[in-house]
Amino acid sequence: MTAPLLEATGLGKSYGTLVALKPSDLRLNRGEVRALIGSNGAGKSTLIKCLTGAVTPSGGSVLLEGKPLPLGQPGAIIRSGVSCIYQHSNLAPMMSVMDNISMGRQPTRFGFVDRKTQRTQVQDLLARYGIDLDPDALVGTLPTVKQKEVEIAKALAQDAKVLLMDEPTGWLAVSDVRRLHETVRLLAAKGVGIIYISHMLDEIFAVCDSLTILRDGEVVTERAVDRISRTEVVAAMVGERLARESLAAADSGRKATGSGEVRLSVRGLGRRGVFRDISFDLHAGEILCITGLIGSKRTEMIHALFGSAPHDAGEVLLNGKRLVPRSPAWGMANGIGLVPEDRQHEGLMLGMPIRDNLVMTTLRRFHRFGVLRPRGIDRSVSSLIAALNVQPPRPAQLVGRLSGGNQQKVLIGKWLARDPSVLILDEPTVGVDVGAKAEIYALLRAARDRGMAVLVVSSDLEEVTTLADRIGVMNRGRLLSLRPAAGITRPELVAEIGADA
């Protein structure tokens, strides 16, 4: 066996007495795509941070092509050939693709940037890896998937031999995910070693060669993907018991039209150039999932229902009464709640404590003559934290310091606290680990069983098939189909989602 491309030995990190990562080994070969998975808190992000230099490991060493990696120095690590593509954008939006790709390393002649050489270099690079980008386009004007490609190209321009990809498909559409996967395979074929971090098992089985599973700060499984089953993966990640429970819950009774009472009725809803002819009924006590590609205008449609985006045709009836959505405040006053997709930018106040975030939507219940009643707030917050199982369960904890899963729980919790009659959720489990996912599903099912009408927009087919009582498919701004979830198979869904309408 040849020497591995990257070899980490005994890499560990502890903060005082708290061990975030027990001494672990990781080997990555040239051209290998290695999945790195585990629940939040499993030590995954600590391992990545050790490799990018964001944290200095307490022990162990990493060899890249036999040479030691300068641990704890992000800049030096990048220069030695280990790059990371983060979930959030790492680009300068007002600069061109070309300048972003060669950021900080434009070729110069007599001290001036040599545009011609820079252009040639960038074009060569893009051609070599088969990435199709306009070097002069402003990055801020590109769609998300293209921006991810710019980031990949940028990493490659820095002669990356190892690419860490942290949930690269988080907010990508299905077709874009496929496109990105092709790029990943192409890179692997060129000998780049890739560490691919994702919560989506579908993706892992589609694109990775091997996987490493972490739990409780240590590596529990390391195997080639064709020698492990999904159930085994889930079991390894969350432990046997939780895995069984979540499977059981998925198969528990589906109620196709809930209690039968129509709560929200949408008739011919449309917005010029965006979506049209959207008609459906949402019943009390059901979970309706709407899936489709990103760009199929699901998000715009639900925002129109909530009042945070306009519509110009059709009507919305709530409990048979006609409504004209105007603003989020209006939507809330009528008992509608919306959990937005991007929790960091649209959902939460990251610099504020859990307590303030959880009462954000219900604040006006907690004051007497304009003065807040702290005791009432505290009672409500602690019961919510308990119900949501937020970790750590401290109301004063800043939300920005929570893991993705716990942030998402707080976000959903702040809407559940209002007990809306209609709750709309946009991609409720993006970037959330399997354990937290199961908990969120349980919360949603409990809400449904209390009689809430739940509308979920999701691109995660596993989620859709697990959670939904009914499934709708949107494509290019139209609702293609709507039927009971029981009996729909995943291949059928895939075919419908991608159909050329």
């Binding site: 945070s308 603003s327 989020p328 405040a329 939507g331 809330m332 006053a333 919306l338 937005p340 930018h345 649209e346 959902g347 939460l348 106040m349 990251l350 610099g351 504020m352 303030d356 009462v359 954000m360 939507t361 604040l363 006006r364 907690f366 004051h367 304009g370 003065v371 807040l372 702290p374 702040k414």
Partner: protein, 311 residues
Amino acid sequence: MTGLMTRAAPHALTLCVIAFVMILAVLEPAFLSGSNLIGILRAVSLVGIMALGMTFVIMTGGIDLSVGPVSAIAGLVAYFALVAGHGLVAALLAGAGLGLLIGIANGLLVASLGLPAIIVTLGTLSIVRGSALLLGGPDLHGIRDQAAYSFIGSGAIYGIPVPVVIFLVLAAMAWLLQSRTPFGTLVAAVGDNERAAWLSGLNVTAIKAATYGLCGLLAAIAGMIQSSQVHTASATYGKFGTELDVIAAVVLGGTQLSGGAGSVARTLLGVLFLGLLNNGMNILNLSIDIQLIAKGAIIALALSLAARRTG
């Protein structure tokens, strides 16, 4: 050492205040005399009142540079109302109302049109100053024989100057507003994440306009107190630099210019710190050059200590 620094950091300002008081008390025992301490409060009362409003504006991620001219025009309007014989209450309401209106106009420009606050309020600074000068000219308008109005600035209740009493009452109200009412939380929410606040059903435009309105109102109150204190109304009062003093007090108190969480209580500490600094250097009869250099250095130092907390 580093650990100690990190732990001390949140209290950097408090520690600075204590250290400063101790040093001054040794250098000049008169510093701790009751009359001097009241003098400090009296000196900071106007900047302090403006800083209360500015805290809310800065919590939303905004800034208000126009407080100086707003205070001037409010004093002027109150003066004209008094002279026209409309009575004390009407005069005060006129001045306060104008400040409130200018503030709300600022807020609407910032919030509903999405313009950068620093430029908008720089614009209104110019507009309000020009308007004040058109209204009152460069003259000093002496306020005479208005005992009730003069009492606001020059009177005393149980030996405590009325401006100090007003300042403390307003401070208590602002503190309640910020920490004990929904408004405080909402303002912080808007400053932390505006889009999320909107999607949570908050009326972002109204909240922002309210903070600027409050800031304008408090600037107007400060302006009227000043005109009463000096028995004069003039369009040239609240001159350039007032707004920077006010902002410095708020930021010293730990409210970030980028918005989000903030605290009226800590702003008060910032106000007090600046007041101590000015008073201490005056009482030691330091020359203006040393005063300015020391002031700059101490502000930079105190804040850089506090910055380690977030570090």
